[in-house]
Amino acid sequence: MEKALIALAAALAIGLSALATAWAQSRIGSAGAGTIAEKPELTATVIIMVAIPETMVILGFVVATMILYR
């Protein structure tokens, strides 16, 4: 039972952060595409902006690993 709960906690940690990252990147990505269409000189900034939410899923992955291998 305890093992199942640990696995569920790890799954939630990575799953929820992945969903949040996906949602944030979808919005930032479409706004970024619009920005690049109007001002191509902002391409580098937009790529950085799209990459920032990745930190959420990376942190989720770290937390999930810590839960599983504590």
Partner: protein, 318 residues
């Protein structure tokens, strides 16, 4: 009243559209004071890749530019936003329709053709307008192609017989505004309610200034109570409209502040700019309105080239 042709393609997400509008907004004229202070106001308009060149510009060219921009914005919208903004685009198309009817009335077939070139009106209606032999046939096409029961067609026909194109314009506009004011989205509903109130205030002002005897025609859907209009009408003084203007715009208003129409347009511009910071729909609405205001101001500059600069300054909306 659906006055638009269906659009092909599914458009893009709202975030994409908003980002593009933010970029394009930077090309709209912001410093009208600077333009009016220049020796040649039209030459002082900063260039924009999205606006046709203003050298030898005409009223018609400016309007076509606005329609092109509206067409572009509509193509970028997703299905939901297209449905939501249909009454707003319909407003611009109503003006195109009326200008085309006037061109048909004046026997200017080529001008009517140019006006309809960038129109978003339904293709069937465009086809029938282009093929209309005379004004009566064109008005009949409008009556038949706009949604509505037989009573609506009779009403439009009656308005045409009594007052010509002006009657058709008034009937179409009143219906469009009243329907727009019932829009479910609060931003669109509030926008149309303001237009209805503004139209009623302008009608009341004309009523009082020219001492017209027939009852005041009020369009339904405004936020100002009808008894305020009736009380102002009973006062018999054209200045009685200014408290209504102040109530609508939320700013002090008096004859010294400018013409009633100018005060109303400036009030709406400020309101939309403020609301545009709060929601996505309001942001799109603000952009569309800014484009319309810019087109109006450019037309004023084109027509008012020889006018006193002070007169232009009181009419340009910013």
């Amino acid at each position: 009243m659906e006055l638009l042709q269906p659009m092909e393609g599914r458009g893009y997400p709202a975030d994409y559209l908003l980002a593009r509008l933010k970029g394009r907004r930077g090309y709209l004229v912001a410093d009208w004071e600077g333009v009016l202070a220049a020796a040649e106001p039209l030459a002082a308009i900063p260039p924009s890749p999205y606006r046709p060149p203003l050298v030898d510009a005409t009223d018609e060219g400016v309007w076509a530019g606005l329609l092109r921009e509206y067409g572009w914005v509509r193509r970028q919208m997703d299905e939901g936003l297209r449905r939501l903004f249909a009454p707003v685009f319909g407003c611009a198309e109503l003006r195109t329709l009326v200008l085309a009817l006037r061109a048909v009335e004046g026997g200017e077939k080529e001008r009517a053709e140019r006006l309809l070139a960038h129109s978003l009106l339904p293709r069937r209606l465009l086809h029938r307008l282009r093929g209309s032999a005379d004004l009566a046939a064109a008005v009949a096409a409008v009556a038949e192609e706009t949604p509505g029961a037989a009573a609506w067609r009779r009403r439009l026909g009656e308005a045409f017989r009594r007052r010509g194109v002006a009657g058709v314009e008034e009937t179409l506009t009143d219906r469009h505004l009243a329907e727009g004011a019932t829009a479910r989205h609060p931003e669109i509903g509030v926008f149309f309610a303001y237009l209805v109130d503004g139209r009623n205030i302008v009608a009341l002002h004309k009523h009082l200034r020219w001492r017209i005897a027939f009852p005041l025609p009020l369009v339904a859907g405004g936020r100002l109570r009808p008894d305020l209009f009736r009380n102002a009408a009973a006062a018999g003084d054209p200045a009685a409209v200014f408290p209504l203007v102040a109530r609508l715009t939320g700013r002090e208003a008096g004859p010294e502040a400018g013409s009633v129409e100018h005060l109303l347009l400036t009030g709406l511009t400020r309101k939309l700019r403020r609301r545009g910071r709060e929601s996505e729909v309001a942001q799109v609405l603000d952009y569309l309105w800014r484009c319309a205001v810019e087109a109006r101001n450019l037309s004023l500059l084109i027509h008012g080239g020889a006018q006193e600069r002070a007169a232009l300054r009181t009419e340009v909306v910013r």
